[in-house]
Amino acid sequence: MASAREMRLRIQSVKNIAQVTRALEAVSASKVRKAVEQVENTRPYANKAWQVLRHVAGQPGRSTLHPLLTERTEVKNTLVLLISSDRGLAGAYNTNIIRFNMQNFKNYNTPTQYITVGRKGRDLLMRRGGNVVAEFSDLPAAPSFMDVSSIGHLAVEEFLKGNVDEVYLVYTDYVSMAKQEPVIKKLLPLELDDSDDLVQEYGEQQKIAAAYIYEPDAEEILNEIIPRFTALQVYQATLESLASEHAARMVAMRNATDNAHELVGALQLDYNKVRQQSITGDILDIAGGAEALAQSER
């Protein structure tokens, strides 16, 4: 067993760590509150915008409507927008999103390019041999739409230029403080999945098959809203990811603090034992000495 002195030092250092992690937890707790607020404020708009996009895409004759809605017959290149964090110490947050991404694209039959948001995601992807063509990091703590819209526009541009034939968005959806889920969304061309989960909100909404009337005219309005709403999805995904990151970090740091406290408890017990033993030893020595002295005097 280590000496009492060594153990004392160890206990102190673990206590220091606990202090640091607790501070980090407090910081994340306040950040997560802000991030969640922002996410929840913008969520209705983003959801509605997504709904509108899907209604537009669900019309008959969508393929001739707008190039961004047109399914390409041959998919040669795939672009993935992957959103992660700049900083670590967030538990399994970054690993989860990368692993999720790898599961989806490991055996994908077309070459995949990545645009990453966040340094950690970029590093992890490159280590695994991902082809990262662009990266955005150091986003402000509370990004505005302007900060993020360029990412979405870049994806739209790449798609329109024909450099890529489909665009996916991979991010972490903030469900609750304890639960964050990696999700994948097909951004371009818009896909209509059959599980129409959004339709319930409409109540007894009948399936629409009729084409829209456009004002002013179809081209103008579609040119405006499709790229914009696509960028908006990226923005919302960024906010969701940010909230998830802070939540994950907060939970990770709380666990770390708890573990440190537990460790301190165990170490303290050992230390006390060692200390007690050395005192017992000392007393035995003194008692033995006194006994010997007494006997020699007799």
């Binding site: 209705p44 708009y45 509108v52 409409y202 629409i208 456009y214 004002e215 002013p216 309005i221 809203i225």
Partner: protein, 147 residues
């Protein structure tokens, strides 16, 4: 049969409910949307969205955006929107004043700042106008005379 109306701005949901008629300021003119309207997609002008239900009326200023109309739902996605009852008059006036002063200095008319300021002026004019016209307590619903 009522029509459902949802008004959301980029940072919050302003209105959700079943109503009799929704009046929206489309780019090519103001239109009143009744239930069973044909599907329609329009961009929005600066103006006032009115929502009427029975004798009640609620007014929202919107500064651009998009509206999607389905037979039984109107979704207004506004770039910025406010309930007329919630508009802070003194703030709007201050903003108007600030914008006017800036415009009078005659800055280069194509700079971003100029455009932002002229949009701000436009918005505060709209707000003040809307307050003057529509905020009289909820009882007397003024007839809409938006251009």
């Amino acid at each position: 049969m009522p029509i459902r109306c949802e008004i959301v701005s980029q940072d919050k949901t302003l209105y959700e409910g079943d109503v009799d008629i929704v009046v929206i300021p489309g780019t090519s003119g103001v239109m009143g949307i009744l239930p069973n309207h044909a599907p329609l997609l329009t961009t929005l002008n600066f103006g006032v969205v009115q929502v009427r239900k029975g004798g009640d009326e609620e007014n929202f200023t919107v500064a651009g955006g998009v509206a999607e109309i389905q037979p039984n739902i109107v979704t207004v996605l506004a770039d910025r929107a406010e309930n007329v009852e919630d508009i802070d008059i003194s703030r709007a006036e201050a903003a108007q004043q600030r914008a006017k002063e800036y415009m009078e200095k005659g800055p280069p008319p194509d700079s971003d700042r100029y455009l932002a300021m002229s949009a701000a002026l436009h918005r505060s004019n709209l707000r003040l106008d809307a307050v003057r016209r529509y905020r009289k307590g909820k009882k007397q619903a003024t007839r809409q005379t938006e251009e």
